[in-house]
C-alpha cells in the first residue's frame, strides 16, 4: 500500500537530480571547493529527520540516537556554512581589495 507513496517522492527525486545537474554544472572550477563545503552544509538538512526523532519522545533509544544525529547534522550545517563564507570572503578582485 505504501508503495503508492513512492511515486510522488520518486517524481520529486528525479526532477531534483535534473535540476541539480543543471545548476551545478554552471559553477566554475575556481569555486569548486566552496561548492563542496557549501553542499556539505546543505546535506545537514538531515537535521529535520533528527529533530523529529529526538523530539517526539517515543522511546529512549530514538531520543538518544536523534540527539546524536542533531549534533552531527548541526556540525555540518554550522561548520559548512561558516567555512564556506570564510572562503568566499577571500575571493576578491583587485579593485575591491583597495
Amino acid at each position: 500500500m505504501t508503495l503508492d507513496l513512492l511515486v510522488p517522492l520518486l517524481f520529486i527525486f528525479g526532477l531534483a537530480i535534473f535540476l541539480g545537474v543543471e545548476v551545478i554544472s554552471r559553477v566554475p572550477s575556481i569555486l569548486h571547493t566552496p561548492l563542496m563545503s557549501g553542499s556539505n552544509a546543505i546535506s545537514g538538512i538531515t537535521i529535520v529527520g533528527a529533530l523529529v526523532a529526538a523530539g517526539e519522545g517515543h522511546n529512549t533509544v530514538s531520543t538518544i540516537l536523534g540527539t546524536a544525529a542533531i549534533i552531527f547534522a548541526m556540525i555540518n550545517v554550522v561548520g559548512g556554512y561558516m567555512v564556506t563564507n570564510r572562503m568566499l570572503s577571500m575571493f576578491r578582485k583587485k579593485e575591491d581589495a583597495k
Binding site: M1, T2, L3, L5, L9, I12, F13, A16, G20, V23, I24, S25, R26, V27, P28, S29, I30, L31, H32, T33, L35, M36, S37, G38, S39, N40, A41, I42, S43, I45, T46, I47, V48, G49, L51, A53, A54, G55, N59, S62, T63, L65, G66, T67, A69, I70, I71, F72, A73, I75, V77, V78, G79, Y81, V83, T84, N85, M87, M90, K94
Partner: protein
C-alpha cells in the same frame, strides 16, 4: 498544519537552489551561501513548529553542542587543511543519516528497551531504512579513512592485499543478502539490522583503503555525493520532500565533481576505485633523458624582467612550501612593471576540486587572474615565460607524447609550448605519481632548484633592488 510546514520546506528548497545558482559567479557566491543558510534556518524552524515536540532539552542541547563544534572547526581550519575538513563533514553527514535511520527503526519497529512491543512493518519503510543505514555507514567510515589519509595519520599509499576484490565482493554480497533478509522477515530483524550497520562500516573502510593519496580528490567528491544520497534516502524514510530535494542536489553536485576530477586525470571511476594506482611502481619510457639547464635566481630574474607575459602554474608543492604569499608578491611586482600575469590552474592542482584557487585567494591573488586550464592552453604559445612552481605531473608532456606513460592522455597545461619554461623544484625527484617528466630536459626549459618560498623571496628581492 502539515500544509504550512510543507510550504516552508518548499521555500527552503527554493532558497537552496537559488543559493547554488549564485555560486556560478564569485561576485554573487557569498550572497548565495547566505540565502542557502537562511533556507536551512527556515527548514529547522518549520520542523520545530510543526512536529509535536515533547522534550526540548535534548534538542536545544544537541543544536548548541553541534553549533559550537561546527563554529570552532570553521574558524580554526587552515585553508591547506580544507580537504580533511570536507572529508570530515562528509562523514558527519553520513553518520547523521545513519543515526536518523536507526532512530526511525527504533521508533517504528523495535525498541530494544521495550522488546515486547513489536510494531508491524511495511516493505516500503524497511527498504528505505536499510538503504539509508547502509549508505550512511559507508559514507561515514569511508570518509573517516579519507580524512586519516589526507591528514597523514595513516599511510597515503594504497593498501592492497591478495584476494582483496574477493573480500570486497563477499562483503557486498553479505550486505545484499542481509538487506533482503531484513526486508523479507523483519520480525526477528534486530540483530540483522545491527549486523548490517557493521557491514556498511566495514564496506566503507575496505573500499577506501586501496585508493592512493593522489586520488583523494576523486574520493572526497564521491563521498560528498554519498552524503547527499544518504540524506535523500532518509527523506524517503520520513517521507519529507525537503530532504529528498536537498539530498539529490548534493548527490548531483558530488557526482559532477567526481566526473570532472576523473576527466582531469584521464581515468575512469572504476579505475580510481579498484586499481590502486601508484601501488605498482610505474617506469615510463625513460630512455631519452638529456641535459637539464639549471639557472640561478639572478638568471631567472633577468628572464622574468624581460618578459611581457608570464603564466604561473602552481601545484600543491607551492602550498607545501607555504609560498603562496611570496608568489603573489612576485606577481604584483611583475604586474606593476606592466607584465601580463596569469595563474593557470589545473583541475587537480591541490588536494581537492578547486583547492588551489582557495589557497591563492587566501594569499590575496585577485580571482580574475585565475585561469582554468582550458582557457590558458589555446593562448599558451603567446606566453613568454611559464613559471612552474611545485607542479609536476600536470605539466608533464609525456601525457601528450609518450604512449607508454601511465599518464598518457591526461589533459595537461602545455607549458612547453610557451617560449621559455622556468621550473621551480626542490630536486630532480619524480612527482606524486612517480613518473619521469621529459619537460625538464626540453631545450626551452630552465630548472630553478631550491625551496619554492626561498627562491620566490629571492626573486622578489631582485625586483625590489631596482
Amino acid at each position: 498544519m502539515k500544509f504550512i510546514a510543507e510550504v516552508f520546506y518548499l521555500i527552503a528548497a527554493l532558497l537552496f537552489v537559488t543559493g547554488l545558482k549564485k555560486m556560478s559567479k564569485p561576485e554573487t557566491a557569498r550572497n548565495g551561501n547566505f540565502l542557502s543558510s537562511f533556507g536551512m534556518l527556515i527548514a529547522i524552524v518549520a520542523t520545530l513548529v510543526h512536529y509535536n515536540i515533547l522534550d526540548w532539552t535534548y534538542i536545544i542541547g544537541g543544536i548548541l553542542a553541534g553549533s559550537v563544534i561546527g563554529l570552532i572547526l570553521a574558524k580554526t581550519v587552515k585553508m591547506t587543511e580544507m580537504p580533511q575538513m570536507v572529508a570530515l563533514l562528509n562523514g558527519y553527514g553520513g553518520l547523521a543519516s545513519l543515526l536518523v535511520g536507526f532512530a526511525e527503526f527504533s521508533r517504528q519497529f523495535y525498541d530494544v528497551t521495550n522488546p515486547d512491543v513489536m510494531h508491524s512493518i511495511d516493505l516500503y519503510t524497511s527498504i528505505t531504512i536499510i538503504l539509508t543505514v547502509l549508505v550512511g555507514a559507508i559514507t561515514f567510515s569511508g570518509s573517516i579513512i579519507a580524512w586519516a589519509k589526507l591528514k597523514e595519520v595513516m599511510t597515503g599509499k594504497p593498501i592492497l592485499f591478495k584476494g582483496q576484490q574477493f573480500v570486497n565482493a563477499a562483503i557486498l554480497i553479505a550486505a545484499v543478502v542481509g538487506g533482503v533478509m531484513f526486508c523479507i522477515n523483519p520480525a526477528d530483524s534486530y540483530y540483522i539490522f545491527i549486523a548490517l550497520i557493521g557491514i556498511g562500516l566495514i564496506l566503507g573502510i575496505t573500499s577506501v583503503i586501496p585508493i592512493g593519496g593522489a586520488d583523494m580528490p576523486v574520493v572526497i567528491s564521491l563521498l560528498n555525493s554519498y552524503s547527499g544520497i544518504a540524506a535523500c534516502l532518509a527523506g524517503f524514510v520520513i517521507q519529507n520532500n525537503a530532504l529528498i530535494v536537498t539530498g539529490s542536489l548534493v548527490g548531483a553536485s558530488g557526482i559532477i565533481l567526481t566526473k570532472i576530477m576523473c576527466k582531469a586525470m584521464n581515468r575512469s571511476l572504476a579505475n580510481v576505485l579498484f586499481s590502486g594506482f601508484g601501488a605498482v611502481q610505474v617506469k615510463s619510457g625513460s630512455g631519452e633523458k638529456g641535459e637539464v639547464n639549471p639557472v640561478s635566481v639572478e638568471d631567472a630574474y633577468a628572464l622574468l624582467e624581460a618578459a611581457n607575459s608570464v603564466c604561473i602554474v602552481p601545484g600543491y608543492g607551492l602550498a607545501v612550501a607555504q609560498a603562496q604569499h611570496a608568489c603573489r608578491e612576485l606577481a604584483d611586482l611583475l604586474e606593476k612593471k606592466g607584465t601580463e600575469v596569469r595563474f593557470a590552474i589545473h583541475p587537480v592542482a591541490g588536494r581537492m576540486p578547486g583547492h588551489m584557487n582557495v589557497l591563492l585567494a587566501e594569499a590575496n591573488v585577485s580571482y580574475d587572474h585565475l585561469y582554468e586550464m582550458d582557457a590558458v592552453n589555446p593562448i599558451i604559445n603567446t606566453v613568454d615565460i611559464c613559471l612552474v612552481i611545485g607542479a609536476n605531473d600536470v605539466v608533464n608532456p609525456a601525457a601528450r607524447e609518450d604512449k607508454s606513460s601511465p599518464i598518457y592522455g591526461m589533459p595537461i597545461i602545455n607549458v612547453d609550448y610557451s617560449r621559455t619554461v622556468i621550473v621551480m623544484k626542490r630536486s630532480m625527484a619524480t612527482g606524486f605519481a612517480g613518473i619521469e617528466n621529459p619537460l625538464f630536459y626540453k631545450s626551452n626549459t630552465r630548472m630553478l632548484f631550491g625551496d619554492a618560498k626561498n627562491v620566490l623571496q629571492g626573486l622578489v628581492a631582485e625586483f625590489k633592488k631596482v
